[in-house]
C-alpha cells in the first residue's frame, strides 16, 4: 500500500518507497538528502502545523527531528515500515 508522507498519520513509522525529485527544486532535493531522507529509510511523522495551517510537518529520522513543508512531503511515497 503506497501513501504520501503529507497524509501519513502522526506517530507511526513508515519507510520511504520513492521520492519524486522532479517535484521540488534541486536545492530542496539536496537538503532533503542532507537530512538523510532517502529511499529505503524509515521516518516517523510527529507534528503537523498549528491552527493556522496543516503546514509544516515535523518528522523524526534516526536521531534527528526535521521540519519540511507539506509540498515536499507530498512528493514522498511511503509504505508501512517492516
Amino acid at each position: 500500500m503506497i501513501a504520501k508522507l503529507d497524509s501519513s498519520p502522526l506517530g507511526i513509522s513508515v519507510r520511504i518507497a520513492r521520492i519524486d525529485w522532479a517535484a521540488m527544486s534541486q536545492d530542496e532535493g539536496r537538503r532533503l538528502r542532507e537530512f538523510g531522507l532517502l529511499e529505503g529509510c524509515e521516518v516517523t511523522p510527529r507534528h503537523r502545523g498549528s491552527i493556522f495551517s496543516r503546514d509544516p510537518l515535523a518528522l523524526t529520522i534516526g536521531r534527528m527531528q526535521v521540519i519540511i513543508r507539506a509540498r515536499q512531503a507530498a512528493a514522498i511515497e511511503v509504505e508501512p515500515a517492516a
Partner: protein
C-alpha cells in the same frame, strides 16, 4: 612547518555545539567582524597549546555539506577550500560532530576528511548522547575514520586539553594524504556514514527522550501557540517590571554626574555642552540599557534552549499565508532587539524573494531603540495601574499593543509585497529541530556582554555625536535676554523644526516633536535625548523646571492625543541610519532601502494621523 601562528577552523553541522566549543576554547578572547564583501559574521579568537604556543581559531557557520544553500554556508565552503578572499586556508580542521547524531553528522565529516587537511574530530555533547542511552567507542570511530577522535563536552569544558593536544599532533605529524574521493552520491555517502556510526556504537538503549514529551505539548496545534503567545507576553512584561530598579539607579547616577560637573566647571559653553548636551542626551539613552539587556536575554535563552525553532515551526503556517516562511521568524524575533542583526540573520533564508520581503518588514518589529521612546511616553501618559484587578499592568499592556501593531502591520505589508513587488515562488521551509538543552550561563553571559558593548559603543559614538550637534544647533544663535521667544524656538534647530512642523501639524505633532524627529533620523532613541536636551536648555536655570523629570514636563506640553500619535508614528517610522545602511548592503543597492524608507514613512504618517484624529474625536485632544 611555518613559524606563524597556526589557524584552526571549527566546522560542522548546525546544532553540533560548535559555538559552545568555540567559547570554551577561546573564553572572552573573541573578535566578531564581517567577512569582507559579505555580511556573514566572522567569529575568530585565540587559545594556546599546553606549552603556551598560541593558535588562532575561527568558528565557521554550520552547514550540512560543501554544497551551500545560503550565503553563510558558502563562506564555510570557501574558507575550508582556501577560496575566501582575505582569509588564509586553515592549517587544520576541527570537525565538530554531535555524538548523539553520528548517522547524519558523519556525512559532512567524511566530505571534509576527503579534503586531506590535518583534521581532528570533536565528538561533542557526549553527555547528552549518554542521557539518550547511547554508548560510543571513540577509538573505534577513530580507526574507522583514520583521524584522531576526541570526546568533548564543550559546555562543561571536558576534553579541551586533549582536543588541543590532538590538533597539535595532527599538524606536526601530518602527511599529505592522498585525497580520498568521497562516495560518489548522497545515498552511498549516507550508507557509509551509517555503517561507521553503527560500528562505533557499543550500545543503544531505546529511551523515550524527554524532548519528544516536551514537544507533544510545545508543538501542540493549540496549546503550542498559547504557550508561545504567553512567553512573548511575559517577555514584554518583564522588560518593563525587571528593568525599573536598575534604570532608576542609572538615572540617579547620571544626575549625580551632572551635579558634579555643575559644581566643578564654571558656567559657560563647556559646562552647557557637557551637562545639557552630552550627559542629558546620552544619559537619556543609557538608562534603557537594562531593558535592552532583558530583551536580549530572553531571545538568547529561547535560542540556546532550542525553543526558537519550535516557535518557527508554529509560526510557519501563519507566515506561509502571507508568503513568508517560518525561517523568517528567527530574524524577525531578533529584530525585536535590533533590526540590524535581524536583517543580517536573513542570510539563512534560501529563497531570494522570501529573504527580501523579510528584510523589508524587519524594521516593523519593535526594536530596542524604540523602547526609550515608548517607555518615556507611556510612563508619562499612561497611568501605572493594573487592569480590572488582574496583575496585568496597563502600561505593559499598551507596550504589548504597540509590539502587536508592529507584527500585524508587518504581516499585512508582507502579504501585499508578496503579491506585488516581491512576487515569486512559494517559499520553502526545511530546518532541523535541535534537542532541548539547558542554556549555559557562560555562553549567554558572553553573548549578552557583546550586545551590551555594541549598544554602549553606539551610545558613545552616533548618539553622543548627534546630541552634541543638536545641542549646538539648539543653543545658537542665543535668544536676546529681553525676548520672550524661547531659546529652543529662536535657535537654528528651532527654525528647521518650524519648517517640518508645518508638515506634521495635521497629525497632531507639535514643535517639540518636529524638533526631535530630525536628529532621530540617525537613531530612534535620539528622539528621547533630543527631547531631553531641548528641555534641559529650555529649563535653563529655573530650578523647579530642572527638578522635574522629562516625563512630567511632557505631560504639561502634550495632549494625550499627541502622545498616542507619537507612539503610533514610531511603530512604523524607519528612523535608523544603521538599518538603512545594512539594507543597502544586504540588497546590493539603493533601490530597496529607498523603497523601505518610503513605504514606512507613508505608513507612519497615516498611522499617527488616524490615531490622532480618532483620539481627538473621543475628546482626548
Amino acid at each position: 612547518m611555518t613559524s606563524a601562528i597556526p589557524s584552526i577552523a571549527l566546522v560542522g553541522n548546525p546544532n553540533a555545539g560548535k559555538s559552545s566549543l568555540f567559547n570554551a576554547l577561546t573564553g572572552a578572547r573573541q573578535k566578531i567582524a564581517n567577512y569582507p564583501g559579505v555580511t556573514v559574521e566572522r567569529k575568530a579568537g585565540h587559545a594556546s597549546f599546553a606549552d603556551g604556543r598560541p593558535l588562532s581559531l575561527i568558528d565557521l557557520p554550520g552547514t550540512y555539506s560543501l554544497t551551500p544553500a545560503s550565503l553563510d554556508e558558502a563562506v564555510t565552503r570557501d574558507v575550508v577550500l582556501g577560496k575566501q578572499a582575505g582569509e588564509t586556508r586553515p592549517d587544520a580542521l576541527v570537525v565538530v560532530v554531535d555524538a548523539a547524531n553520528l548517522d547524519n553528522h558523519l556525512c559532512f565529516a567524511l566530505e571534509l576528511l576527503a579534503l586531506g587537511l590535518p583534521t581532528v574530530i570533536a565528538l561533542n555533547m557526549l553527555d547528552l548522547a549518554t542521557r539518550d542511552g547511547l554508548t560510543l567507542d571513540p577509538e573505534r570511530l577513530s580507526r574507522e575514520l583514520g583521524v584522531p577522535v576526541v570526546p568533548t563536552v564543550a559546555v562543561r569544558k571536558r576534553g579541551l586539553a586533549e582536543l588541543l593536544a590532538a590538533i597539535d599532533g595532527a599538524i606536526a605529524t601530518h602527511q599529505p594524504r592522498v585525497a580520498v574521493a568521497p562516495p560518489p552520491n548522497d545515498a552511498s555517502l549516507h550508507q557509509r556514514a551509517r555503517a561507521i556510526a553503527r560500528a562505533a556504537t557499543v550500545d543503544e538503549t531505546p529511551v523515550r527522550r524527554w524532548t519528544q514529551r516536551v514537544d507533544s505539548v510545545v508543538l501542540h496545534p493549540v496549546a503550542g501557540l498559547v504557550i508561545l503567545l504567553a512567553l512573548m507576553f511575559v517577555m514584554f512584561q518583564a522588560v518593563y517590571a525587571a528593568a525599573e530598579a536598575p534604570a532608576d539607579f542609572l538615572e540617579g547616577g547620571i544626575g549625580v554626574l551632572q551635579g558634579w560637573v555643575v559644581d566643578v566647571l564654571p558656567d559657560g559653553f563647556l559646562r552647557g555642552l557637557i551637562v545639557e548636551g552630552l550627559l542629558a542626551g546620552v544619559g537619556a539613552v543609557i538608562v534603557f540599557l537594562p531593558q535592552i539587556l532583558i530583551l536580549f536575554l530572553f531571545i538568547l535563552l529561547l535560542e540556546a534552549s532550542g525553543y526558537m525553532t519550535r516557535a518557527a515551526f508554529l509560526m510557519d503556517g501563519l507566515m506561509g499565508k502571507v508568503g513568508l516562511s517560518g525561517r523568517g521568524f528567527i530574524p524577525l524575533l531578533s529584530s525585536f532587539a535590533c533590526a540590524v542583526p535581524g536583517i543580517m540573520a536573513t542570510r539563512s533564508i534560501p529563497d531570494e524573494k522570501d529573504r527580501l520581503t523579510t528584510i523589508l518588514i524587519a524594521p516593523l518589529m519593535t526594536c530596542s531603540a524604540r523602547m526609550p521612546v515608548y517607555t518615556l511616553v507611556i510612563g508619562a501618559f499612561i497611568p501605572a495601574r493594573t487592569v480590572g484587578g488582574s496583575p496585568v499592568g496597563l502600561q505593559g499592556l499598551v507596550l504589548f499593543g504597540l509590539f502587536l501593531s508592529g507584527i500585524v502591520g508587518a504581516l499585512l505589508v508582507a502579504w501585499v509585497l508578496r503579491r506585488s513587488v516581491t512576487k515569486g515562488n512559494a517559499a520553502g521551509f526545511m530546518m532541523e529541530m535541535p534537542r532541548y538543552q539547558w542554556p549555559r550561563a557562560r555562553d549567554i553571559g558572553l553573548a549578552l556582554w557583546q550586545r551590551a558593548w555594541i549598544f554602549l559603543r553606539r551610545a558613545g559614538t552616533i548618539i553622543a555625536m548627534t546630541t552634541v550637534v543638536l545641542w549646538l544647533l539648539l543653543s545658537f544663535p542665543k535668544a536676546p535676554a529681553d525676548s520672550d521667544v524661547r531659546q529652543v524656538d529662536y535657535s537654528v534647530a528651532g527654525h528647521i523644526a518650524s519648517g517640518l512642523e508645518a508638515v506634521v501639524r495635521p497629525i497632531g505633532f507639535n514643535h517639540d516633536i518636529a524638533l526631535a524627529l530630525i536628529p532621530a533620523m540617525a537613531a530612534r532613541e535620539v528622539a528621547v535625548s533630543a527631547l531631553a536636551t531641548a528641555n534641559a536648555i529650555d529649563a535653563g536655570d529655573d530650578e523647579e523646571a530642572v527638578a522635574m523629570s522629562l516625563g512630567e514636563r511632557l505631560q504639561g506640553r502634550w495632549s494625550l492625543a499627541t502622545a498616542l500619535a507619537f507612539l503610533a508614528w514610531f511603530v512604523f517610522a524607519p528612523q535608523c541610519i544603521s538599518t538603512i545602511a545594512i539594507t543597502r548592503r544586504e540588497t546590493n543597492g539603493w533601490k530597496w532601502p529607498l523603497f523601505m524608507v518610503g513605504y514606512l514613512f507613508a505608513l507612519a504618517y497615516a498611522a499617527a494621523g488616524i490615531t490622532y484624529w480618532t483620539a481627538v474625536a473621543f475628546g482626548l485632544g
